[in-house]
């Protein structure tokens, strides 16, 4: 079993009332450690669906998914939660920060679920926030931060458990191009430190940061190439 991630014949159907909406129609994909992949494609082509499956937020309708050699489709709900907590970090287009918690509180959240002690949690969260350049914004709430700063908090949160894999779903989609570039250079930096980056985007100049490009069309992989 080679590779960090191995999808074989993965399909995903959504039920909309009585009709089945096929979002993925048979995906075969292998991703190795320390890759930097962009997933591109038009709206509705299944990018988010695929990323959610990769991040173990969702499970395939059929096909197999091996993560570090483990069959993800066999895992229980609670094992999936643990895997999400330890193995992957999510970055969303809409940031998805808890509005009432401070930057520090948001970054601490994954550590609460991994059972880390209070002191250790604070230290680790501060360290990661410093790394993303928010040392002076730790006690601000999301509504006191700019879009770029919010996305950095979200990235700090994704990194705090040291997962090694960052899954980013259009992380620059809600940002202006300058701020977007800043976020992208942060991702580049993380990749250079040895993290695996999987980046969903529909913008070519964002995808250029990645070293491998996968294109989706209508639930199929239409292109898979090294850049």
């Amino acid at each position: 079993m080679s590779g960090l991630i191995k999808l074989a014949g993965v399909t995903k159907d959504y039920k909309l009332g009585k009709t089945l909406v096929p979002a993925l129609r048979g995906i075969d994909l292998t991703i190795d450690k320390a890759e930097y992949i962009s997933i591109m494609g038009p709206s509705g082509s299944g990018k988010s669906t695929m990323l959610n499956i990769l991040g173990m937020l969702d499970t395939p309708t059929s096909g197999s998914y091996f993560f570090r050699g483990t069959d993800v489709t066999e895992l229980s709900d609670s094992q999936l939660a643990t895997a999400r907590n330890r193995e992957v970090g999510f970055v969303f287009q809409t940031f998805n920060l808890l509005p009432r918690a401070t930057a520090l509180g948001n970054v601490e959240l994954p550590l609460i679920y991994s059972g880390a002690g209070r002191k250790e949690r604070k230290e680790r969260a501060k360290q990661v926030l410093e790394m993303v350049g928010l040392a002076d914004r730790m006690n601000h709430r999301p509504n006191e931060l700019s879009g770029g700063q919010r996305q950095r908090v979200a990235m700090a949160r994704a990194l705090v458990t040291n997962p090694g894999i960052i899954l980013a779903d259009e992380p620059t989609g809600n940002l202006d191009s300058k701020t977007g570039e800043e976020i992208m250079s942060l991702l580049d930096e993380l990749w250079e430190k040895g993290n695996t980056i999987i980046l969903v985007t529909h913008e070519g100049f964002i995808a250029k940061h990645a070293k491998r490009r996968v294109e989706l069309l209508d639930g199929h992989i239409s292109l898979d190439t090294k850049v």
Binding site: N52, S78, A81, I112, G115
Partner: protein, 405 residues
């Protein structure tokens, strides 16, 4: 445990984020707990008052009567007489044996009549057993009883009625059944509203020596006998001995029913409690019902909260929260609301009870039972009505929850 504290913290945080809603939710629980505390405390207070009132009959006194109180009255039973008194005097472990006879008569003095007053013919030991405190004068003595002196000790209301100008009644004469008696003592005012309804206070009674009473009224009403035990613990052995002695003197065969009654204040208190327990239970039920209404309020608000925070649930799950964490978080929120509401309700409840006790003869009882009941009920309500919304939250699929707008 550690995770529990974190969950607790985040529950408190999110409740603080919605202060107004949290308080509205608490209101229902608060009212419910206040109601329960007030009801239970008032019941406990009333019960305490009644128990105190009955205890005036003496907590270590047995009443030997023709019939068992609260028993059947139609059963043929011989009157109690001197024979029984003498038999009981052989019960060595008893402290006092006091026979008395009750009659009713008109009292008069200087043209004022009061009708239907209770005339108690008894011995000098009566006021040791019943602890009748005297305001003026003294109780009669052994020799006065033996001599059959026409002297009396009167209750306070009788004194007020027959001596309206407040003159010193001691050594003055009043007529009982048109026979003149010299007043030698006045009993302190005893009455409150319960004892005036029952027959427990001495305010409307007049005490005279037993032989005088027998001469005037005859023996047809029969005697009653009070027997006191030296301590409360001795009451039962004394009762057993009295029963044995009485059965012997009446020649009852083994297995035959008693043809006399041995009563005590404890016994009527038990009867009273038996008679009122369903009423109390119904009142507590009403209190519990109001808590139930509060609980439905909690469930409603929690359902709204869960829906509103769908996205938050999605985020937490994406970051590694298990179902159980989410469930505990929302359950704890419901419980905390219930507990805080319950605590405020308890404080309010005791304030209200304190006020009621201050303006009424009710005895204020800080009822630990009420607090326990309130806490138990609110916790049950919190879990019961918080569980469904919490399960709903825990079951949400992370992807759906994250897509929720």
């Amino acid at each position: 445990m550690y995770r529990f504290i974190e969950t607790f913290r985040s529950a408190v945080d999110s409740l603080r984020g919605h202060i107004l809603r949290t308080m509205l939710t608490m209101l229902g629980i608060m009212v419910g707990v206040t109601t329960i505390i007030v009801i239970v405390s008032v019941i406990a207070g009333l019960d305490g008052m009644v128990a105190k009132e009955f205890s005036r009959m003496g907590t270590r006194v047995l009443y030997i009567n023709r019939y068992q109180w609260g028993g059947e009255f139609f059963r043929r039973a011989p009157r109690i007489g001197q024979k029984e008194v003498e038999a009981l005097e052989r019960v060595g472990i008893a402290e006092y044996i006091v026979p008395y006879r009750e009659n009713w008569a008109t009292l008069s003095r200087g043209g004022t009549d009061i009708n239907g007053m209770q005339v108690i013919g008894t011995s000098e030991d009566y006021h040791f057993i019943r602890e009748i405190p005297l305001e003026l004068g003294r109780f009669f003595s052994r020799s006065e009883v033996d001599h059959g002196s026409r002297i009396c000790v009167i209750g306070h209301d009788i004194y007020e009625n027959l001596f309206p100008d407040g003159e010193d009644p001691v050594n003055e004469y009043i007529d009982i059944y048109q026979v003149p008696f010299r007043v030698i003592g006045v009993v302190e005012k005893q009455g409150n509203f319960i004892s005036n309804m029952s027959d427990l206070a001495a305010d409307y009674k007049v005490f005279i020596p037993l032989p005088v009473s027998t001469k005037m009224f005859g023996k047809w009403r029969g005697l009653n006998i009070m027997v006191s035990a030296p301590t409360e613990d001795m009451l039962e052995p004394v009762e057993d001995e009295c029963r044995m002695v009485l059965r012997a003197v009446r020649g009852l065969k083994p297995g035959a029913e008693d043809n006399f009654g041995i009563n005590s204040q404890d016994f009527i208190l038990k009867n009273f409690r038996d008679a009122t327990k369903y009423m109390w239970a119904a009142l507590v039920g009403i209190g519990a019902l109001s808590l139930l209404v509060g609980g439905i309020g909690v469930m409603n608000i929690m359902l709204i909260t869960v829906t509103e925070r769908t996205r938050e649930i999605g985020v937490r799950k994406a970051l590694g929260a298990k179902r159980l964490s989410i469930l505990l978080q929302f359950l704890l929120e419901a419980l905390i609301v219930c507990w805080i509401g319950g605590a405020i309700g308890a404080v309010l409840g005791f304030l209200v009870t304190g006020v009621i006790a201050a303006v009424s003869p009710l005895i204020f009882v800080f009822s630990g039972i009420a607090v326990g009941l309130g806490f138990a009920f609110t916790s049950i309500i919190g879990v019961f009505f918080g569980l469904y919304p919490a399960v709903k939250a825990a079951r949400k699929s992370p992807v759906e929850a994250l897509r929720y707008e």
